[in-house]
Each structure stands twice: as C-alpha cells, then as structure tokens.
C-alpha cells in the first residue's frame, strides 16, 4: 500500500464487474484511500458502509448482476473533500418514490434502508440519471483538518 503520510490528494478509478465480489473490492479500495486521507475509525466505518450500500444498489438493482454491464468507481481525495462516484448501466429509477424506511408502515420491511443509510453517513449525497442509460451516485465526506 502506498504511503500517503501527508494526506496528499489522490484519485483512484476502476471498472468493476457486476458481482458481489466487486462490492467487497470497492469498499476495500475506497477505505484504502480514506485511510490515507486521515479519516478516523468512526468515519471509515461510515464511508465503507456508504460505499457498500451504493455498490449493492448498482450491482443488484442497476445492473442486475449482468455480466455485460460494468460499475464505474471513482474515488478522489482533495484537501477538503473525499468524493466517491459510482455509476451503473441500468435502467435507472425514481429516487423520489423510495419509501421512507422510518415511516411506521415501513419499519418492518426487510429492505429499502440502503439510501437512507448512505444519506445518514455521508455529508453530501447526489443521484443523477446518466445518458444514455444508468444511474450515478456521488458521495462526499468533508475532510476536517486536525
């Protein structure tokens, strides 16, 4: 693992298969950059979880495990922001129609908490439709100078 003792800016980009193994890989890759960026254990847990949930959405719901579709992962670290972009090649979905997992009628649902957790753990979360197809999410964690 490359040393980055001065928390220097860094960029990492990968094209991943639509598999659960890629979910693990993306989490490890993002956390490796986040560790070098100087995040503490609590923030590392949050970043790892947000990346995992985003990758699961891309692999499972976006690309539906298709061997013909890739997930693009981009991790960038600057002096102020730690940014992760994850893009799939699926049909897209309407984020406005995601049920609120905290609503009493949804509390005992067995799924539907992923995006809620991402928003809870990251400082910024944005989702957009890509042309000609696919969904791209952008996750940002602010870098706090110590």
């Amino acid at each position: 693992m490359r040393e980055n003792k001065n928390h220097a800016p860094e960029t990492l980009e990968r094209s991943l298969d639509s598999t659960l193994e890629s979910v693990d890989s993306a989490e490890e890759l993002a956390l490796s950059v986040a560790q070098r960026a100087g995040f503490d254990e609590d923030d590392l847990m949050k970043i790892g979880m947000a990346v995992r949930e985003s990758m699961v959405n891309a692999v499972v719901h976006g690309n539906r495990y298709s061997a013909n579709k890739k997930v693009r992962l981009l991790v960038t670290h600057s002096s102020e922001r730690f940014t992760i972009r994850i893009a799939d090649e699926g049909d897209g979905f309407d984020a406005a129609n995601i049920p609120d997992p905290l609503a009493p009628e949804n509390l005992m649902r067995t799924s539907g908490r992923g995006i809620f957790l991402i928003r809870s753990f990251m400082d910024e979360f944005e989702m957009r439709h890509r042309e000609p197809r696919g969904t791209e999410v952008t996750l940002v964690k602010y870098v706090v100078s110590k």
Binding site: M45, R52, V56, L102, M108, L117
Partner: protein
Amino acid sequence: MSVKLNTRQVGDVSVVDVAGRITLGEGSSALRDMLRDMTSKGSKKILLNLGEVSYIDSSGIGELVSGFTTVTNGGGQLKLLGLNKRVKDLLQITKLYTVFDVHEDEASAVRSFA
C-alpha cells in the same frame, strides 16, 4: 470472512452464536435459512448472540427484521444479545432498536423469555 453460526440450548432457549459479517449474499442468507429452519422445527424462544458480529449492512438488518417477523408470526420470541457499537448504532438510526428486545448479558436475556 462470511458468517459463522453455532446453536446451543440454554434451558428451553435456543441460542444462536453469530460471528463474522452479516452482509448481502452468503452471510445474510445463512442467517435467514437458520432461523426459518429453527422455526419450522418448533423453536419458540430464540436468542441471537451478535457479540462476534464484526459487520452488518442493510441486507443483514433486513434479515434480522425478517427473522423477527418469522419467529413472532409463529408464536415465538426472538431477542438480541451483545450488540457492539456499530450494530447498536445502525439499529438506533433505523429506529429498530426499540423493536427488538436487546440484552447485554446472556443470563438475563435467557430469564427474560416468557
């Protein structure tokens, strides 16, 4: 590492010791299958010991909810033991902490079953 499950009896309570990662895929499905199997065989008092769970994602939380519903609908009780900070925080954020009966030590957890 995936999830490892070990079952044992403490009186009439079935304790499931869960270790490892409860995540989408092998981990979450193993827990689901275990709880369904136990319920179908008549287990009414199930205590999930999560003390050695290192990681849980939203799919893992979904399996806890699913297990709770399965056991409860079958007339049984499912309780949780030994949550670490990560799991506890996740259940609190998702407002599930008060849904489950959560215990810190096994003896009191076993006694709490009706």
